[in-house]
């Protein structure tokens, strides 16, 4: 893992968290990938914004009867995954705002370990620019 190349990895998450397994298995790649010390960014667009929705209920009684893995996103800051971009248009189309999302934070070691938000709400021009900057784009 002591590879000297540092590449910019972008994970694009486009699917709802429980209708298919893409979201869960994408998160597994992000967590493993964090061990490689690469420059990691996550983007959430289309139904992918639902992955970050707070108060997910997934038990048989109240939901799809699947394991609720949403708390794993809260741990991303501890893995130094702290650049998380959410598409504003996708939120708007679904009647969601930033307040509907989980509070994903990280400790900024360059700023006295102050707790900061990992989430940025961006428009589609900013997303396009972000994608342009990447070396590797993994779309799930």
């Amino acid at each position: 893992m002591e590879d000297e190349v540092i590449k910019k990895f972008l994970y694009v998450n486009r699917k709802a968290p429980y209708g298919t397994i893409y979201a869960l298995e994408s998160l597994e790649v992000v967590l493993i990938g964090a061990a490689f010390d690469q420059d990691v960014t996550l983007a959430f667009i289309d139904d992918g914004v639902y992955q970050l929705k707070k108060d997910q209920k997934t038990s048989v009684d109240s939901g799809a009867g699947m394991k609720n893995f949403s708390k794993t996103y809260l741990a991303l800051g501890d893995y130094d995954v702290n650049k998380i971009y959410v598409d504003k248009a996708s939120l708007d189309e679904r009647g969601l705002t930033a307040d509907d999302l989980m509070e994903l934070v990280y400790e900024d070691e360059d700023d006295d370990y102050k707790e900061k938000s990992s989430i940025s709400i961006v428009n589609q021009d900013e997303l396009a620019e972000l994608m342009e900057q990447q070396d590797v784009v993994l779309s799930f």
Binding site: D3, E25, I32, V136
Partner: protein, 130 residues
């Protein structure tokens, strides 16, 4: 050009399984290098040696095995995705106490780190998915 290939969809179900093969074959025939082909999500099912398609149809697993043999390809099946879908090689079957294995010749099972490494070591990582 050195390519990494990610196959995210299952055989016969989805075009991207075929496209991944056609792209890989075409790239090799043009003299490009394939660093690794990584099978993830339902893509792991492309590695089942037990598939029996109709005789007048393409045999997806056999053609990967043949291409792999011809060009000495690194065909890697994600272990986590494989296990939850019942895809086991001989060692895993033994380890998990299962009575059968189904990974075809030329493929091997390994971890997601192999996908990240393919992203780092390849000049382009091409994703075939939905």
């Amino acid at each position: 050009m050195k390519f990494g290939i990610l196959v995210n969809e299952g055989p016969y179900q989805h075009q991207s399984s075929d496209s991944a093969y056609q792209f890989t074959k075409a790239a090799l025939e043009k003299g490009h290098e394939i660093f690794r082909v990584f099978f993830y999500h339902d893509g792991v099912n492309n590695a089942s040696r037990l598939m029996v398609p109709p005789q007048d149809d393409r045999n997806i697993v056999n053609r990967w095995t043949e291409l792999g043999k011809k060009y000495n390809l690194d065909l890697v099946v994600c272990i986590a995705a494989a296990q939850r879908r019942g895809m086991l090689d001989e060692n895993e079957a033994k380890r998990q106490g299962k009575d059968a294995n189904n990974i075809a010749e030329g493929f091997h099972i390994s971890g997601l780190g192999q996908l990240i490494e393919a992203g780092i070591k390849s000049e382009r990582l091409v994703v075939f998915g939905d």
